[in-house]
Symmetry: C2
Subunit: 368 residues, 2 copies
């Protein structure tokens, strides 16, 4: 293990904080931050803001100017080694004559991992890897999951009363959660790469499933400009071609991907005549470069996702209400016959959002 | 409004912290703390530890000795004016020649409120009331509710999976929540005056419903001695005389009150042949001096308590599990037909308890 100094920790923390400046704009690209120091002083810093725009290292090198010579670069992710829409950052760092590069983590893509590092080392630059690695990984769960598995990172959002009910038996469910919770949902939508729902939800609620500037939390509006708002792609499961053009979904800005027999992705069906979610998600990654799905739908899709082991995080809003068990529950029937079969989660975060409670829980996948 | 000094705030805060030393032992008496200062220095302090033992003021006066002359006494509750198991504290403070008494709040019993204050003032002592009143009230929600309304303060404890289910359809429910949550429940039991349950719960779980020293949180065990542990009274609703003597309930130490036709309290029935809970609770207060009920029971009693507007606080443990809506829900059918009829709560506290989540919510009573 390399020995990192307190200065190293401090500079990489700064790079990680910088990286967060892109969480509402970079998708599907990863969030990356970079700090360049010379003789212990920061001479350049930057983060990746948007796909197609310069990488974090480029911003930092531009700021540093000729002070990159002999400098140390702290980067939250291994510098890229390939020509994409921008030239490879490893090449840039070599040309800039930095003396040392410290990366928080390797590129998670097993086919490229280490190539950027090798390029730097071959050019005589000292490279160390693994400083604050876990914090750096937490910046990009979706990018990392796609690179490692070919599957998207899936967040399932649900809202219920404290006793786990989502609607009265007669279907009434308006405004279970508060305006503050709905703002919070808007912030999650804005961070996601795509919003997944079903034709049923789109039709029942005439949902536009977009990000609305006015509904975003004010903290977010202070750090971004309305013009930089990115609309996540709306992916709608519509196996039976039920969507019609007058719906708000089609009247609002933002890309749409329809999973239907006449749509953009043809649904692969299982033997129960349902969409095979595993294969569909893999296709969304492969064909549409989607790595982060934010799911807002009803109990049927929610329980299918749970049963198919496709959920990474459950984001559950509880309104401080009791509705009674003759109402409609969060998940459909799961047919569990033993407590050993119950689906286990880990609580990652609990907090109050206005009058409501928000729980973020990760699913403990059992190996099949 | 009297003008309180920073010293006054500081001393009353100290008295309130002292009062908390009795939360596991004083029931059904209130928690009270007292600090006596002379020339700005603390000369005595104390709190009420157990019914029948000296009041907070007596402990503080004993510690102060002859330094009570000309002193200021800070008491979290108006000093008592009546002869009970101990002589009235107002009289004691007069004899001790204190110059000034500051009370956080009046005695909540409308029939006695202000009498202790009047005794002090008639003796020429300066008295001020209302310093940190809300904090002082929070020490004794049950005592205050009983004094003001003749009804007990009711805490309803429930435990469920994140989707609000308490047992699988086949009845399996073992260990939904963690050992840490069960320790937390033991601490709540220990603070209560009485534990309410039903013969069904007692028989199904062979529940002893007592406080077990070994199961208490270690933080609690550090501040109390096993010998000072007080067993709450166990109140069991047993309208149909189903309890049998071999049950653990009868094999464990602690008082029992059976609400049955052959028991200690005769159930008053409503026209659906159910126990009238309002009248039964009023009788428990009147006949057995109970002011704080901790309820552990199933969905049937829980929903009756909710419908009858008898719950002050809901203490809800969520285990990080999903069980599916074909399991058994937290509350029975409430028959709500409009979202306007949904039962509203306010979240008072949310925290993680081991791997579980604990929510404390107060009920917003609608006027009938």
């Amino acid at each position: 293990m390399p020995q990192f100094t307190p200065q190293d920790y401090s500079m990489m923390s700064r790079a990680i904080e910088l990286a967060k400046g892109g969480i509402y704009t970079t998708a599907p690209n990863p969030n990356v931050g970079c700090v360049i120091t010379l003789n212990g002083e920061v001479v350049g810093e930057g983060f990746h803001y948007r796909a197609g725009e310069p990488h974090a290292e480029v911003h930092a090198m531009r700021m540093a100017g000729d002070k990159t010579v002999g400098a140390t670069a702290y980067v939250t992710l291994e510098p890229c080694s390939h020509y994409g829409r921008t030239p490879p950052c490893a090449e840039g760092l070599i040309k800039a004559k930095v003396a040392k590069v410290i990366c928080a983590m390797e590129d998670p893509n097993p086919q490229v991992a280490g190539r950027g590092i090798k390029m730097l080392r071959d050019a005589g630059i000292e490279v160390e890897v693994g400083l604050l690695e876990q914090d750096a990984e937490a910046l990009n769960p979706a990018f990392i999951k796609r690179m490692k598995t070919g599957m998207p990172f899936v967040q399932l959002k649900m809202a219920a009363s404290l006793d786990g009910q989502t609607a009265l038996d007669n279907g009434q469910s308006q405004w279970i959660t508060s305006p503050q919770a709905r703002q919070d949902v808007q912030a999650f939508r804005a961070q996601s790469n795509a919003i997944l729902s079903t034709s049923k939800t789109v039709i029942d609620d005439n949902a536009s499933l977009n990000v609305r500037w006015n509904d975003l939390p004010s903290s977010l509006k202070q750090s971004y400009q309305e013009s930089s708002l990115r609309q996540p792609i709306r992916v709608i499961l519509d196996r039976q071609n039920q969507l019609t053009p007058e719906l708000k979904l089609f009247q609002t800005e933002g890309e749409r991907i329809l999973v239907s027999h006449s749509g953009d992705v043809t649904p692969i069906e299982n033997d129960q005549q349902q969409i095979d979610l595993n294969q569909t998600f893999a296709a969304l990654v492969k064909e549409h470069n989607i790595n982060h799905l934010w799911v807002e739908a009803g109990a049927t899709l929610a329980s299918s996702l749970i049963k198919d082991n496709l959920v990474d995080e459950l984001i559950l809003y509880f309104a401080p209400k009791i509705m009674g068990s003759d109402s409609r529950g969060l998940f459909g029937a799961l047919g569990l016959e033993s407590m050993a079969d119950v689906i286990d989660l880990d609580i990652k975060d609990v907090r109050q959002v206005g009058p409501d409670i928000r729980i973020v829980a990760t699913l403990n996948r059992k190996e099949p």
